[in-house]
């Protein structure tokens, strides 16, 4: 074996570098300069993400209005959450919203993605862009638009119903104790189906086309193809979509706040709305923090469960 030309000097350089760093770290260890590169992002992350989270956890053990002296109350704030009537209502509402934020968008997204996958060329891009649009809009804008849709007297929906002679079906959509929550849910579906669709379309492109060929050879029609190839092939994407939309359903605040303020009565109240009220309107920062921590833990739990389920099946 001959040594390639140039190998010798390179080794020497290598050795010199090692020698210089050996004093502080073993060979192959990242050099301490790396921490300098990490410092700024760490500082930002620490200041704006970690510190507020830690502060919230800390406040959750206090009786504090945000202004006057703090008092340590241990787990009292958490214990009080357990038999809070309003919170039970809010949690039940959040569960209903999961149907609209997760189940429906994933279903619609799957349907659209498998149909659009068959469309080729520039048209596919155009359809995708149009169908994805709701996801891009700011939620306040979405809320304003749907306020105009649902307005009882001159709103678009009731006007349409009257226009087609179905005036008997008009409702005060956001003011109806039974319909307000579904009405908000539909907005959530409208916002999130586009995200699911785009995720699934990307996933479909990843599925090897010979799987489809094989399915077709075995005599599968479009429906059989969907269940035998597309659905199993999109397992990862579906998990991502379910996790993202479930988090959105639990964290819902802006749509509810801008559309109904949780009304009529408590019929559309959601947990995060209650966090806002306690922290900013009632002067119950401790209780609000405990609730925020509880919601975050619940989201974390749901996420872990969904991911575990997917991994086990994989």
């Amino acid at each position: 074996m001959t040594t390639p030309i140039g190998e010798g000097p390179r080794r020497q350089i290598q050795a010199r570098v090692w020698r210089r760093t050996r004093a502080s770290a073993a060979p192959g260890e990242p050099r301490s300069i790396a921490y300098l590169y990490l410092a700024l992002p760490l500082l930002l992350y620490g200041t704006f993400v970690l510190l507020p989270i830690l502060a919230t956890v800390g406040w959750s053990f206090l009786k504090w209005d945000g202004v006057t002296a703090q008092r340590w109350v241990g787990l009292d704030n958490y214990i009080a959450l357990v038999d809070d009537r309003l919170l039970r209502v809010a949690l039940t509402n959040a569960m209903v919203l999961i149907v609209f934020y997760t189940v429906l968008p994933v279903t619609i997204g799957l349907l659209l993605a498998s149909v659009l996958a068959k469309v080729t060329g520039r048209r596919q891009g155009a359809y995708r862009a149009i169908l994805f649009l709701p996801q891009v809009l700011a939620s306040v804008v979405v809320a304003l638009v749907f306020k105009l849709v649902y307005e009882p007297n001159v709103g678009i929906l009731n006007s349409l119903l009257r226009g087609v002679g179905a005036g008997g079906l008009t409702r005060p959509w956001l003011g109806d104790f039974e319909l307000a929550l579904p009405a908000i849910g539909v907005v959530g579906t409208w916002v999130f189906y586009g995200l699911c669709m785009v995720l699934f379309m990307a996933g479909i492109q990843r599925i090897p086309s010979d799987l489809y060929d094989a399915a077709r050879v075995d005599g599968a029609g479009p429906v059989g193809e969907f269940f035998a190839v597309t659905l199993p092939g999109l397992r990862h994407e579906i998990t991502v979509a379910v996790v993202l939309t479930t988090i959105a359903a639990f964290r819902n605040f802006d749509l509810v706040f801008n559309l109904t303020r949780g009304g009529p009565g408590d019929s559309t109240t959601v947990p995060v709305l209650e966090v806002y009220r306690r922290a900013f309107l009632y002067g119950q920062v401790g209780s609000a923090s405990a609730l925020a921590v509880a919601i975050a833990s619940m989201i974390l739990l749901v996420t872990v469960v969904v991911i575990r389920l997917q991994e086990r099946r994989a």
Partner: protein, 434 residues
């Protein structure tokens, strides 16, 4: 009326820099350069015009003083004020919400300056009725709302009443109701004529409390209404009169007095519906009067719902934004002089000239019939000592609790008895927790 006559001294035309009365009251203010940082929540209309104008006049009178005006929306104030007043270098003057969440907490934490000495010096208590002063007070330890110490003062007033469409009422062959029975008869007459009696919009929830209040003030005593809010004499919400009010509203709603859609209509849309001729009455605060007058002109008026026992008028009425001086302000005397200036007769005159209700009694310019009704109502309430505070001031969770309970009882989802006991439970929970 004494207040009226003093107001006449400073009539509209006094546009000269600095009214003589204002100058005379300033007790040897510093001549050092001073910058006052003043926060306010006046994003539009008369108070905004008034503050701009008075700031210019104040700084012209005192060339060494600069007023730095910071205007924030109500939501913005709610979120930022607690931090601002806790700051070692806070704004000198801030608008503080009445009641527990802001004023109570700020006083307890020692962030606000007691204003009683300034009030005596400038004679603030002589300008307005005692029931107007009370929301500005707390005990010095912040534990008692409506206490013996003054912590803010205000230039504007507002009250909750019944707007009425004059043509529509006349079209039903009716006069302005002067008794509570006549008001209900008018509702029945409108229903019979196939018209919407009362336009309402509860989408934001809080508007429901201002429909509740006039009916309540027609039934409960004003002493109870005050005791409940200020936590005096062990007042509770579950009194028979409140159950009656709940039953009446439930019954009226069931008979269609508010239409079918009111829970789904925003209060602004309800205003638009009312001004477009949909509804004989509209029950809300005078804060909507400008838009309503602009749309309806002389065809609209407002009245205080008469008490069902025929007694003196009582209405939910309150000061506008209450302005406090922060305890760490470096220039409390200058801030007080400024606060005096923006709550003076001159301020009142500018407000009324721009179509808005001032705290102090002023002469009716007579140009706007709705404003005339509002001014007349205000002075009737002043004379009869009929101002009662907003019910939701009683405890921070009550705005939510009360509006939810009102919506549910009006929708027939809970009984009137359940409605009052639910509100009482939230009220009691607040006091138990303190």
């Amino acid at each position: 009326m004494r207040r009226l006559s003093t107001a006449l001294v400073l009539t509209t035309g006094v546009a000269l820099i600095g009214g003589p009365a204002a100058l005379a009251q300033d007790p040897g203010l510093t001549t050092e350069p001073v910058t006052l940082v003043v926060w306010d929540g006046e994003t539009g209309d008369a108070p905004n015009i008034m503050l701009d104008q008075l700031n210019a006049e104040f700084t012209a009178q005192h060339p060494n003083i600069t007023v730095e005006r910071v205007t924030k929306s109500f939501e913005d104030l709610t979120a930022t004020l607690p931090l601002a007043v806790s700051d070692p270098n806070p704004p000198d003057i801030v608008p503080v919400n009445y009641g527990w969440t802001q004023m109570g907490a700020f006083v307890e934490a020692g962030h606000l300056l007691r204003l009683d000495t300034y009030a005596d010096q400038y004679g603030w208590r002589d300008r307005v009725p005692a029931s107007f002063i009370k929301p500005h007070t707390f005990s010095a330890d912040g534990r008692k709302f409506g206490g013996d110490s003054l912590y803010s003062f205000s230039y504007a007033g507002q009250w909750v009443g019944v707007y009425y469409n004059k043509e529509k009422l006349a079209g039903l062959g009716l006069q302005l109701p002067t008794t509570c029975a006549e008001f209900e008869a008018a509702i029945d007459a409108a229903l019979e004529a196939g018209q919407l009696p009362i336009q309402a919009g509860f989408l934001e929830k809080w508007p429901s409390t201002h429909v509740w209040e006039p009916f309540q003030n027609a039934m409960v005593t004003k002493e109870w209404a005050r005791d409940f809010v200020y936590g005096d004499n062990d007042a509770t919400f579950d009194i028979p009169e409140n159950t009656e009010v709940a039953r009446k509203l439930q019954d009226l709603a069931a008979r269609g007095a508010f239409g079918a859609d009111f829970n789904g209509v925003s209060v602004d849309d309800a205003v638009n519906q009312f001004t477009a001729g949909n509804g004989v009455f509209f029950i809300q605060g005078t804060w909507f009067s400008k838009g309503i007058y602009d749309a309806m002109g002389d065809n609209v008026g407002i009245f205080i719902l008469p008490r069902c026992d025929g007694g003196d008028p009582v209405a939910t009425a309150s000061p506008g934004y209450g302005y406090s001086i922060t305890s760490r302000s470096a220039h409390p005397d200058v801030a007080a002089a400024y606060l005096d200036f923006i709550t003076s007769e001159r301020a009142a005159q500018i407000l009324v000239d721009n179509g808005s209700l001032p705290a102090m009694a002023v002469e009716d310019p007579g140009t706007n019939p709705l404003l005339s009704d509002i001014l007349a109502g205000w002075s009737a309430l002043s004379e009869a000592d009929g101002m009662v505070p907003f019910q939701d001031w009683a405890a921070p969770p009550l705005l939510e609790s009360l509006s939810v309970a009102i919506q549910e009882v009006m929708a027939g989802r809970i009984t009137p008895e359940d409605m009052v006991s639910r509100v009482q439970a939230d009220y009691a929970a607040f006091y138990a927790d303190r």
